[in-house]
């Protein structure tokens, strides 16, 4: 396709600019630079003849008008401005809107912008932490109210539904993953301990590892990804649809209807899931012990019996409701933080998962410190 063109003719004090070809946005790059660099030198009058222009759109029209203004600003008198009759209305539209200054596109890559970003991020982390803390307090109070007047605040069916949703429906995925974790642990343990001829102690490592730490930790992380995110997305979507506002205007207590059933359901379901995860992981480990080292199932049980006691099991189990509480709380809190746009649902769902996994691991570390001080 042919390109737009323009010529400059100088005769004494006057300048004549002839333009032709397609002056459209697709070809603008070909003439824009040269037009900007246009130097009137010592001319005092200019004539613009664009009658050879074959196609003109807003961009082309703007370039012609800009050139005219540019020459006028340089002190030249514009003696003529010729354009084909067809294009006059278009030029009038732009002219009547008076050439605006170019739209500013903000560059965000400066050092100051980086500092601002760091500052804002730190501030929002702080606000976020305070927010969660305040929310945990509020829900705890709601919970006590429920204990005092269960018939008014407690929603049995909703809670049962949540137990099914976060507990029973999670059984397949938790089972499969924990089975594999058991296999991997047993394999790695066996690989190392075989060198010292201590094959049988794989069972000890497996039993203690799974029951104290990994069973509950991995289950909690799976549930944070599966149910914590679901809480945020569900409540967030309701927020976007103004369903939460509708509930409030009808006099329904959002905490009773949405939050408590979810958090309670999770606190009840996660210990059971953890127990199930422990059992499945041990079965996976036992299977690996048998195939890798020939430790039969009765031998496995006998060794496990020596390696662990009730405390080992309880140390793991006691963490489950705490993790559940944190996951449920963060999930619901972030859900209620959703603003009235769809993008915010996605953003806060991500944040909810990151925060709950983070808090679960931090709390796990805190438990470890506590148990070591208590000598359990």
């Amino acid at each position: 396709m042919e390109s737009p063109w323009f010529h400059l003719d100088r005769s004494g004090q006057s300048l004549r600019l002839t333009a032709g070809g397609p002056w459209t946005v697709y070809h603008a790059a070909a003439v824009d630079g040269a037009l900007r660099r246009l130097d009137p030198k010592d001319a005092t009058a200019a004539e613009i003849d664009a009658s050879g222009v074959e196609a003109l759109d807003t961009t082309g029209a703007w370039m012609l008008l800009r050139t005219k203004c540019q020459l006028a600003a340089a002190g030249l008198t514009i003696t003529a401005f010729k354009v084909p009759e067809d294009f006059k209305p278009l030029l009038q539209v732009i002219e009547s809107d008076q050439p605006p200054p170019p739209a500013a596109v903000v560059t965000r890559d400066t050092f100051a912008a980086y500092l601002e970003h760091v500052g804002r991020a730190s501030h929002s982390v702080l606000i976020q932490g305070l927010g969660i803390l305040g929310y945990v307090g509020r829900i705890t109070i709601e919970w006590f109210k429920t204990i005092y007047a269960p018939q008014r605040h407690f929603r049995l069916i909703a809670t049962m539904h949540q137990i099914e949703e976060v507990g029973i429906n999670a059984l397949p995925i938790v089972g499969l993953l924990m089975f594999l974790v058991g296999i991997v642990l047993a394999y790695q343990g066996a690989d190392q301990l075989k060198r010292f001829g201590l094959d049988i102690y794989t069972v000890n490592a497996l039993g203690i590892g799974v029951l104290r730490e990994l069973g509950v930790l991995i289950t909690a992380i799976i549930i944070a990804g599966r149910s914590g995110s679901a809480f945020t997305a569900q409540i967030g979507t309701m927020k976007v649809n103004e369903e939460i506002d509708a509930m409030q205007t009808m006099g329904l207590n959002v905490d009773d209807v949405l939050i408590l059933p979810r958090v309670t359901g999770l606190v009840i379901a996660l210990p059971f899931l953890t127990f199930y995860a422990d059992v499945v992981a041990l079965i996976g480990g036992a299977l690996m012990c048998y195939f890798d080292m020939g430790i039969t199932f009765p031998m496995f049980i006998r060794q496990l019996h020596q390696a662990i006691n009730l405390d080992t099991f309880l140390v793991g189990m006691i963490k489950a409701p705490v993790f559940a509480y944190v996951i449920g709380m963060v999930g619901c809190f972030e859900g209620l933080n959703v603003e009235r746009n769809a993008a915010s649902v996605g953003k806060l769902t991500t944040r909810s998962v990151v925060e709950s996994v983070f808090l679960v691991i931090v709390l796990d570390a805190a438990f470890s410190v506590m148990f070591s001080i208590l000598g359990i």
Binding site: T59, Q92, D97, P100, V105, V106
Partner: protein, 254 residues
């Protein structure tokens, strides 16, 4: 038969959504330079028709020609070339939320042209001025704008490549009556000065009376096309209710 200045030609269009028949063999010709409005009850498939023409949905049967080319049989390159020649304004603007208004307007320029950044900034400013937004809107994010401003900004984006057709999906919905009337005037003046063909889906009787040349009413899965007066005389009960109801009469009195 499609005349020489027919710009969009829909023939025998059949659309099914989830097994439900939406359009039953509808025909529609849109002429170059006119403003045509698609009217119909909620759920009658107005937006579906628009989405089929711009290639977002595939009809079960029928043909859709835009600029004389069959949209349904097009390869990717031809479709890309076609997409530069139309602009679409979605109901709530559909501005990209991670970009400022100016960046939004420049998206088609970046994608289809090699215009330098300085000129792109100038183009964004002109387009904003054309749709009646001030220069301060350029660096704002869509979430910082009101509904009416979002629509204007989105119209600026739709117009940035000087398309021949603009598709408007309920351009005045969600606007207050004053903003809606102003938006109607904006569309009318841009249509005249840029020689646009406007294809709009609307509920708004005021828009229909103020700026539309022809109307196409979707009733009972069929399309009835004509000038506003012709359509108004149609005996169909829905059309009578629509034009002769209290709102219709009020809009007509003006």
């Amino acid at each position: 038969m499609a005349g020489p200045d027919t710009i969009i030609s829909v023939k025998g269009l059949v659309t099914r959504l989830g097994g439900k028949l939406i359009h039953d063999h509808i025909d529609l010709d849109v002429r170059r330079g006119e403003v045509i409005a698609i009217v119909g009850g909620s759920g009658s498939g107005k937006s579906v028709l628009l989405r089929s023409i711009v290639g977002l949905m595939r009809p079960a049967a029928g043909s859709i020609d835009v600029f004389g080319e069959d949209v349904l049989a097009m390869n990717e390159n031809a479709m890309r070339a076609l997409q530069r020649r139309w602009g679409v304004l979605f109901q709530d603007g559909a501005l990209f939320s991670s970009q400022t208004v100016a960046e939004n307007i420049q998206v088609p320029l970046r994608e289809f042209t090699d215009v330098p950044q300085v000129l792109m900034n100038e183009i964004a400013a002109i387009k904003l001025a054309m749709v009646g937004l001030g220069e301060d809107a350029a660096s704002k994010y869509p979430s910082e704008l009101s509904g009416g401003m979002r629509k204007r900004a989105s119209l600026a984006r739709a117009l940035v490549l000087d398309p021949e057709i603009v598709f408007l999906d309920e351009p005045t919905s969600g606007l207050d009556p004053i903003a809606a009337a102003a938006f109607d005037q904006l569309i009318a003046s841009l249509q005249k000065s840029l020689g646009l063909t406007v294809f709009m889906v609307t509920h708004d009787l005021d828009t229909l009376n103020a700026i539309c040349d022809r109307a196409a009413v979707l009733v009972n899965k069929k399309l009835k096309v004509g000038t506003i007066d012709e359509v108004r005389r149609d005996p169909d009960p829905w059309i009578q209710e629509y034009f002769a109801g209290p709102r219709g009469r009020a809009a007509m009195r003006q």
